[in-house]
Symmetry: C2
Subunit: 204 residues, 2 copies
């Protein structure tokens, strides 16, 4: 899907979704953009603009129907469409990701994982198999994943990225602390856990 939403707005949609899903009860049947903005510490105009990408405007004086707004956000983020993902690198972080329950909220499932360590071959973590890198092409043929997660050491990340791109992966979430080179047609996002904590430390 090609979208006209700016990436910066897209990034905030899960934040709205999480917040709206955390509410319950009859008193939260309706919610205004002002209430969402106040709860999340954002500006109201920004919230309204972001939400306009996914749904029709809230009604004056009443706001959005919360359930409808949740449905619109889930629809926009593709939460109801099942998507297969593969994982490369079954160290501590890789294992944690294989067991992580949060992906299912977005319709995403890690279907298989790969690791170059023969000792890990055949392991089953959270019901998912760990395979040798040799089996990657078979996995691609079976599951047709478009998404992949890289959780290998920095030194191996670029070659793993090249392999994923060559195999047809279109989106990569990279945990290795290295800037990957990939074609423009492949979406890459990086999560550098240690750098995030260092940034916080520099801010306080």
């Amino acid at each position: 899907m090609t979208r006209d939403i700016p990436e910066i707005s897209l990034q905030r949609l899960p934040v709205y979704l999480n917040y709206l899903k955390s509410l319950s009860g009859e008193e939260n049947k309706f919610i205004s953009s002002g209430a969402i903005a106040a709860a999340l510490g954002m500006g109201e105009v920004l919230v309204r603009k972001d939400l306009a990408y996914t749904s029709s405007a809230g009604r004056p004086k009443v706001g959005y129907v919360r359930a409808e707004l949740i449905a619109a956000l889930e629809e926009y983020l593709g939460c109801n469409v099942k998507k297969n993902a593969v994982l490369v690198g079954v160290g501590g972080l890789g294992r944690a990701l294989m067991s992580y329950g949060g992906f299912v909220n977005y319709g995403i499932e890690i279907v298989e994982a790969y690791d170059s360590d023969p000792a890990k071959e055949g392991m089953v973590i959270a019901g998912k198999k760990v395979c040798s890198a040799d089996e990657f092409e078979r996995g691609m043929a079976v599951y047709s994943p478009r998404l992949a997660i890289i959780a290998v050491p920095a030194s191996a990340a670029q070659s793993v990225c090249d392999m994923l791109v060559a195999a047809g992966i279109k989106g990569i979430l990279n945990f290795a602390p290295v800037q990957l080179k990939a074609p423009e047609s492949v979406a890459v996002r990086n999560i550098d856990v240690a750098a995030n904590l260092a940034i916080i430390s520099s801010m306080i």
Copy 2:
């Protein structure tokens, strides 16, 4: 430390640092802002502006001395100052973080972890003790951490955040998919792993 650097520039400093550290050899003794920009797919003016926060300008036609630039970035990011951090929530992700080797590059050490599950009390992971939440105040007194990581389920994250703030924690890295309420004086950054993969999926 209070800094005049914009957060958006601060966020890029670890990216430059990782890249510069990945190079080696006599041919990389000097590096220009143009070469850094090209390697990282950024604009040269942006790179020069970001780096100017941490170090004096590169020399015309020669560029930066790579080792000096690394040292300046490490100094700026406080990599050489040891900083204690605590972790709350020893599930799969918490365990992975306790074992993660990347923090040491920024001078950060997770010194102790806390979990409300009595079955986890007394566990030692990567040489660090898992304690009951009751021991949190003792840990604060012993280690004086200013940084904390939240790796508990979303439903528990706000109460953990409140506890951390009340105890004097100044910076929080939050992995729970929820927007935390904290005083302005406390720096909070969120990493929502599943949302990141969903965003990638929406981009492709």
